[in-house]
Symmetry: D2
Subunit: 136 residues, 4 copies
């Protein structure tokens, strides 16, 4: 399993008039967490695109337990629980505040797309080589 | 059933370097659709808050079929399929592009919160009065 | 002179915990106004990029007089006061709320960039042809 | 003089289809830099609001020299060059990329607002006490 922890501080512009971090902002927080998880595989998402693979999101779900507030430091825990065996990869999420309270949980599924052909493809070998050492 | 259609044009700042409308931007589009659906009930979401009710999102899921692009005019179809019978209300979504292709489908669940007590409450009577005429 | 009016409604996700439309959101509102102004020239900004010209912003300033609030309908007035005579074009802005109160004024300067050469270029002829009929 | 350095990594959702960090996103980066500068004064912006003072932006300008790209680590340098002598405070900015190239410079003016009275007020004594030790 791959597990990455990322700290993100809630920006003023990310709050809404309820005083909460806007429910839509977690898509960005999860994206940041995903990037950190991928760095553990030995490459950045930037390099993934440079190698001709795009990874658009095809499914995203999030369940909110508690709000985050302005200036809160949030810990985004990003998990890859399984080696991708098809054209898809799944990231699981948990967000915590500084008091270690669970704020939300979520799941994001991305698909590997060959940029040239604009078609889904199986996870590339170099991607799998990065991920396999983490799974025993 | 309640059904609202809202037209939204993709802004440049909402695209990402893939050239897609960023996956996180639909939370805002859905919110705009929700507001339009609620206007059909005879009040704005602004008035809901003014009457002491907050409606934070507690669950959000979206499945992406096709991307939207810069300057595309998107139709957000927002549906309330059931009268809320508890502290929650569910909105269903479908997004289409100008060629009437389905871009994504989603579901957002909100909870009624009494602002003063900061506690979940059943849907207020005035809310139900607005919604009931649409369900026969 | 070119003058375009665009109506934009403030989204919930665009407010901050002060209850104001976040000061950073006007960059998007101005961008939307700019696109509408350019439609008056006979082409969309999307077509400009398709013809090999990028128009990044090189200067942006805004002075805020009054805040906008959630669900307010804002009128963005976008002006092109001069035919571009170099590699730059200037857009002037005024934003009003529904009570016709001036919310802010601003100015955005963009530069014409040849996408292939990645260099500034003079405003293309087809761009000038679109703009000239509006100036007598 | 007060000088704060803040590192911010460009998120995917902050890029646009030109591949640049969207011109509108710097308002948030500058806000983050401002918050860090204020921490040097001995309090957070959160505490400022808790003490009954709001600090909305009344003027914002930015000049872009070079774009930032996805995953770039940007250094936001935030400067307070003068002790506020009226109801306003000015922050100056410089943004650099990892190669230490100047990306943009800017200036943001905020006004001290008494939250209860909803009126501009002079910078509070406790604010000035935090700032004065940095100016000798």
């Amino acid at each position: 399993m791959i597990r990455a922890e990322t700290k993100i501080r809630v920006r003023y512009g990310e709050t809404d008039q309820m005083g909460y971090a806007y429910y839509g902002v977690y898509a960005q927080y999860y994206e940041v967490g995903r990037v950190e998880a991928m760095r553990l595989l030995g490459f950045s998402y930037k390099e993934v695109e440079a190698r001709g693979i795009l990874m658009p999101v095809i499914d995203y779900s999030i369940t909110y337990k508690k709000p985050a507030f302005y200036d809160d430091e949030i810990t985004v825990v990003t998990l890859i629980k399984e080696i991708p065996r098809s054209v898809k990869i799944v990231f699981d999420y948990e967000c915590y505040n500084a008091a270690n309270e669970l704020l939300n949980t979520g799941k994001v599924t991305l698909v590997f797309i060959d940029k040239e052909k604009n078609k889904p493809v199986a996870a590339p070998d170099w991607f799998l080589k990065g991920i396999q050492p983490h799974f025993h």
